[in-house]
């Protein structure tokens, strides 16, 4: 744990963490089904949003 770890190296470590989570996720859940992908914009889609939000219990 040293201050000698530069910002670029730390930034790449953060990207590596995200990549690892994504790889783990895709290994678990598989790739999303593009045929059930929502339209580009929720507004005007005629459907209620299905996403989850921090305010949900």
């Amino acid at each position: 744990m040293s201050a000698r770890i530069s910002r670029p190296v730390t930034g790449f470590l953060a990207l590596a963490l995200i990549t690892a989570i994504l790889a783990l996720d895709l290994g678990q859940s598989g790739a999303p089904d593009l045929f059930t992908a929502p339209p580009a914009f929720a507004f005007g889609s005629g459907a209620a949003p299905e996403g989850a939000h921090c305010t949900g219990g």
Binding site: R4, A14, L17, L22, L24
Partner: protein, 371 residues
């Protein structure tokens, strides 16, 4: 320098294209929105935790005023947009409760210890801040553990969901929200020292851009900008990979959450914007000729304190139905009473966190506390 910037562009465009190809156009657009947040937050140094500290310690209200301007801009557009959307766009409403208030207070304190809030932790980690990277790991774990206990905290007692538009109508609710923001702005203005009252041009531009991105988030996703849900989901994915049976927990067995857990995070709104935000902050740091110095080295115990505070940060954000983004920014800008209560409780906690900071964070070189 050319190679460095070409690498940045490759990462930015590569992940956007990856999300678009893997999960469809909405996923690609949400990554772009997240990238925008990262570019603005890091590039124009627009933050949440820092300004809340500055107004207390330096009587500098410029950053807080910029936050209020951004929230007001979102509210002016979001209120009528949601009202006319026929349910396609939903607000960030949550109940006010004992657990929620306690969570907001603790979050406010913890965010001063890890030197970043929900969005700030992602920005800090992406921009190469070591404390931010440690905090991100803690935040992910904490927000996941928080989901396991949310039912208990909610059972301590809460009001029904109360919103400005629900109580006073769309126009009345918007006027009330803007009036509330104006009152807070006046308090911040009066508290600030002369010369530290009017946001500089940089923060005006950032406030407008953040508002535009938040509205883009709403129109594309159908819901306001959020952070915490995605981080908790990442923690749940890791726990599940480690053998945890989350189907037996109330939170992850609930219909919407079970779907998110079963499907890829590339289908989760807040995960996509979170990843984009982190990459955006990384891009700004790598684009600069000088990425800047690493944060001051801390003692090992202080790094431990950061990790613990980040765990608490994530956990309390879950208790509070959101962080500075989901509860404060998006809650208030879409009319939720809980956003206002969150503001008061978290600000009180933030004052405590500012006092704890020099006690818990010690630089490795003796002779002072962490600035």
């Amino acid at each position: 320098m050319f190679l460095q910037r070409a690498t940045v562009l490759l990462i930015v465009l590569g992940f956007t294209l990856f999300a678009f190809v893997m999960a469809g156009p909405r996923a690609g657009l949400l990554v772009l929105v997240g990238l925008g947040f990262g570019l603005v937050l890091e590039g124009l140094r627009f933050g949440f935790a820092g300004p809340w500290r500055m107004i207390v310690t330096d009587r500098d209200g410029r950053g807080l005023l910029a936050q209020l301007i951004a929230i007001a801009l979102v509210a002016v557009v979001a209120f009528p947009l949601m009202a006319g959307s026929g349910g396609e766009l939903v607000p960030a409403h949550a109940p006010v409760g004992i657990g929620m208030i306690l969570g907001a207070f603790v979050f406010g304190a913890a965010m001063q210890l890890v030197m970043g809030c929900g969005s700030g932790t992602l920005v800090n980690a992406g921009s190469g801040n070591l404390v931010g990277l440690i905090a991100l790991a803690g935040f992910i774990a904490g927000s996941f553990v928080g989901t396991l206990h949310l039912g208990w905290w909610s059972s301590l007692g809460s009001l029904p969901v109360i919103s400005a538009q629900g109580s006073f109508g769309e126009t009345g609710g918007l006027v009330l929200t803007l009036a509330g923001l104006a009152i807070v702005a006046v308090i911040a203005f009066l508290r600030s020292a002369p010369g530290k009252r009017i946001p500089p041009r940089r923060l005006w531009i950032a406030a407008v851009l953040i508002a535009a991105l938040a509205l883009a988030n709403l129109v594309i996703a159908g819901q306001p900008w959020g952070i915490v849900y995605g981080l908790g989901l990442w923690g749940a994915k890791i726990a599940q990979a480690g053998g945890a049976d989350l189907a037996s927990t109330a939170f992850w067995a609930a219909e919407g959450n079970a779907t998110r857990l079963a499907e890829s995070i590339l289908t989760d709104v807040t995960s996509l914007t979170n990843i984009g935000l982190l990459i955006g902050a990384f891009a700004v740091m790598r684009w600069r000729a000088d990425p800047g110095a690493q944060t001051q080295a801390l003692t090992l115990a202080s790094y431990g304190a950061v990790l613990l505070a980040a765990l608490v940060l994530g956990y309390s954000a879950r208790m509070a139905f959101g962080c500075n983004v989901g509860a404060f920014f998006s809650g208030i800008s879409t009319g939720s009473l809980h956003g206002w209560v969150w503001l008061v409780a978290a600000f009180a906690g933030s004052i405590l966190g500012i006092k704890l900071r020099p006690v818990l964070l010690r630089p490795r070189i003796s002779g002072g506390a962490y600035a």
